[in-house]
Amino acid sequence: MTTTARTDPHARSNFWKWFDAFRRAPGMWAYSLNRLSAIGLTVYLFLHLVVLRTLADGPQAYDDFVALVKSPVFVFGELVVVIGGVYHGLNGLRVALTAFGIGVPYQKHMFYAVLIITAVVSLVFGIHMFTA
């Protein structure tokens, strides 16, 4: 019995489908973006911890590092982290609430609210970060 990778439940490569939410319901988008932002934020977390080590190397090392992160590429990177973090946190709240049976019939509405708040906060942060 030949089976395709697409429908074969045993295909590990199906994990790319975790991030395939096209034409699916809002909940699938929520999950996809949550997983994506989780991975991104984890990478950021450990990077953040590592670069803080420059503090231990004295004022000069830290000042060099600060000069580096003021460059536009890093500022943009930080904005991406902020967007990911805000989304992940807000959607996380949605997951936490529905997981305890609170507001399950409104899970779609909650997702839209999460998107709107994320967009607003991202805009505010974006403007602030690039005009400060």
């Binding site: 019995m1 489908k17 399950v104």
Partner: protein, 247 residues
């Protein structure tokens, strides 16, 4: 005079020894007919080797679940009008997350076996199977009805929820929304042996709250909500055990 559309159906074909591929069939259809009608017409007049399942044609048997343009649908109640336009295309594929037997037919053994395993009921008392607390789902209890009145459980075991769920994509051992909903219907109180199953490594904790199951369910089972309800029950039990009620 009934409206007539020209629609191209891209149907998944695969058999033993034949790699999956799409075959195109152009049909003149009445857009208010159903996708299943079109598939039957392809079988009847174009290719008798097409494999597909169908039975009741009115959304109670669960046999005709397929992916239409990538989304799970019960093809006997999905009008052609709702998935395409005149001159458009309709892609038809088998359900995900089940082994494909051929063309549009998948092997549902695992699902049925698991429904047996949790002894998913087919009938429940009228006032049981609690629904989420919103007026849309209120079943106004008929106070004149006899106490032993029962109703059919909503689940038609079509497997669409399993297909839509992202977890079985990589984890076939996950019990899945239909089975967990069945367990919730059965009731942990009535059947404590279910505890080990739903609380186990492939039970309710594997759910990622995508709610795709609820979105595609053609039958108001609300599996997403039922999984959350099971979680609530399990957490309550854990805390009760921790803080003394029963030790």
């Amino acid at each position: 005079m009934a409206e007539k559309w020209t629609v191209t159906f891209l149907i998944n074909r695969q058999k033993d020894g034949v790699e999956p591929h799409f075959e195109s069939f152009q049909l003149e259809v009445n857009p208010d007919e159903y996708v299943l009608d079109a598939i039957e017409r392809v079988w009847a007049f174009h290719d008798r080797s097409l494999l597909f399942r169908h039975a009741c044609h009115h959304s109670t048997c669960g046999a005709c679940g397929m992916r239409v343009n990538g989304v799970e649908k019960l093809t006997c109640i999905t009008t052609i009008r709702s998935v395409t336009s005149d001159g458009g295309t309709v892609k038809v594929e088998p359900l995900r997350n089940f082994p494909v037997v051929g063309d549009l037919v998948v092997d549902m053994t695992r699902l049925y076996a698991r429904m047996e395993m949790v002894k998913a009921p087919s009938v429940i008392p009228l006032d049981e199977a609690p629904k989420p607390d919103t007026s849309v789902f209120d079943i106004k209890p008929d106070h004149d009805a006899p106490d032993d009145m029962i109703r059919l459980v909503d689940c038609i075991e079509c497997g669409m929820c399993v297909s839509a769920c992202p977890v079985p994509l990589t984890t076939p051992e996950y019990l899945g929304p239909a089975v967990l909903a069945g367990a919730q219907h059965q009731g942990l109180e009535k059947n404590p042996s279910l505890l080990e199953l739903v609380d186990g490594p492939n039970g309710v904790w594997r759910c990622h709250s995508a709610f795709e199951c609820t979105a595609v369910c053609p039958s108001n089972v609300e599996p997403g909500w039922r999984i959350m309800d099971l979680r609530k029950q399990l957490v309550k039990k854990r805390f009760q055990r921790l803080f003394g009620r029963g030790g």
